[in-house]
């Protein structure tokens, strides 16, 4: 009797594990396929791609698409702006947000409550697109690099996450530094900063992803200046042209023909260029992730559970 029951549980377990594994593998395929397909198209000969039937492997391998993309001046410049912008935003965010978080983690600090409230409220309301746009315009920041980073140096959410983490640092550590004569800024810079590295790595990852992937700021404020364009913005412009081309022409070959007629090149198509730029845009940020990964699971768990 007992053996029979155990056997039934075993079979149930096997069925469950099989179905579960099957579902998870299916999910992985769904997650990976679009990216692998784009990768394959980016390495395939453009006129061959138009014939269709490219799945996850290039049929006629070529580097030509990348050659074309990397010879576009706009892409170089956009890459440079994207990188600079991301580095500046991450650096300013980490320093200013953690510095502010330190001050509002001090229980004796007189403006602690007021500052916390002012920042937390901004998580729930926003003056709206138009008033923000007009403010930026009044400040003379339209078509300048500063609009990328100045409005975003402190985020309320990250502030609360870092503050929560700083509160887990033993008070005695800070107290002893104070007895040794360290002033607030030095305590923050030399004692607290090194201890919150895991959280800062997490925040750095979030901020870097947000900044690298943002498109709206360029679109709204800096679209009038080509030198300030970012990779995302260049990709979107290309996407817009290929999408209208394909809806108008209907047939997939239409894209190739129109590209040839436009005289841009005889052997490349918007579809293939788009795939190559997509890869160029996606890869840098995907490379950042493994470096910060070992910190971030831990940091994220702390930030979320104690929220």
């Amino acid at each position: 009797m007992k053996a029979k029951k155990r056997k039934r549980i075993d079979i149930e377990n096997v069925i469950f594990t099989t179905l579960n594994t099957g579902y998870l593998i299916f999910l992985c395929v769904v997650m990976l396929y679009p990216m692998l397909n784009t990768l394959a198209v980016s390495f395939n000969e453009p006129l061959d791609t138009v014939r269709g039937g490219i799945y996850i492997r290039p049929r006629k391998f070529t580097l030509y698409n990348y050659y074309v993309v990397l010879n576009m001046d706009t892409i170089y410049n956009a890459f440079y702006i994207s990188v600079t912008k991301t580095i500046v935003i991450v650096a300013t965010n980490l320093v200013f947000t953690s510095m502010l978080a330190y001050t509002i983690s001090r229980k004796e600090y007189i403006f602690r409550k007021f500052i916390t409230t002012v920042f937390v409220l901004t998580m729930y309301f926003n003056a709206g697109l138009i008033p923000n746009y007009l403010l930026i315009k009044k400040l003379g920041m339209i078509n300048t690099f500063s609009v990328y980073w100045i409005p975003n140096i402190v985020s309320a959410f990250n502030l609360i996450v870092i503050r929560t983490y700083i509160k887990t640092i033993p008070e005695s550590l800070i107290e002893s530094a104070r007895i040794d004569g360290a002033k607030e800024f030095r305590i923050y810079w030399q004692i607290v900063m090194p201890l919150i590295v895991p959280t800062l790595a997490t925040i750095a990852l979030f901020v870097a992803v947000g900044s690298w992937n943002s498109w709206f700021d360029t679109f709204l404020y800096n679209s009038g200046k080509q030198e300030l364009s970012t990779l995302q913005y260049e990709l979107q412009k290309l996407l817009a042209t290929t999408m209208t081309a394909s809806t108008r022409a209907g047939a997939p070959a239409g894209g190739a023909v129109s590209a040839a007629q436009a005289g841009s090149s005889n052997v490349t198509t918007p579809q293939s260029i788009r795939a190559a730029i997509t890869i160029v845009t996606a890869v840098p940020i995907l490379l950042v992730y493994p470096f910060l990964q070992r910190y971030f699971i831990h940091g994220l768990a702390i930030g979320s559970v104690k929220e």
Binding site: M35, I130, R274
Partner: protein, 320 residues
Amino acid sequence: MATKPLAGQKKHKSTWSTIVAQYELILMSVPLLLYKILFSYVPVVGWTMAFQNYKPAIRSFWKQEWVGFDNFVKLFTGINGERFLRDVRNTLGQSFLTLLLGYIGSISLALLLNEVRNIKFKRIVQNITYMPHFLSWIIVAGLVSTMLAVPTSGGIINDVLIRLGLIDNSIMFLADPKYFWWIVAFSNLWKEMGWNTIIYLAAITAIDPTLYEASVIDGANRYQKMWHITLPGIKPTIMVLLIMNVGHILEAGFEIQYFLGNGLVVESSEIIDIFVLRYGIQMGNYSLATVAGMFKTVISIILISVANFISGRLGEEKLI
């Protein structure tokens, strides 16, 4: 009686001396406070545009024409009103579907990942499902449009459906309004479902393991453990996220609707944010766009207060 002003004086003095003593903390924080007030609170002054017929060409604030609630009436009536209410419906519909699919997808994935015994396999699945989170919406929109295209343009979905014999001709997903809400919801699901499991998995690890041991002794099977221990264990997390998301229900995204929306599907693709952009930045009707933006903010604040209150009443976690 006589001691009262004295006490007041003393308090005043101590406040002042505290400020002096904490000058360093003040130097470290007050500039950032002023900065935040400038960028997040000062723009609220712009809401006065809602009551004006704002003309950017007129420099002086006081020379603008004041029109009372005219813009509010305009927003909800006539042609503008029809378009705006349609956009509100689209925003709510897309958000609701996104939330619903997102919750089902992420929670079930977290529960299933939790049942995987092979740590290596679990890691691989996690890392692969996190990956789309790192792609921008521009890239995702491009991928979505490719996947939904005709088979020869790389449209795998039509390809599979045709091969399975479910359809004869390709479905033009991006040219038919009835699919648009679902496209937005599934794109969000694809991009964020893996990433959102992180928070649930963290909550699952915090569940007391003795609960599982006790249930095994009582003869609970795998599904009973999932349903009666794991799910209730992550309920507080689910509630907190629900409150936060309800407050942001009018934020249906922007990029995906902006890129994939076209003339053919505009009746189901256009959302409030795009309305604001078109009227405000592109048509220069700042006043009407400001009213639409205000509407969004006010509704969000009401929703989050209500959700917070209900959650508190039900004895669940409160956010604020």
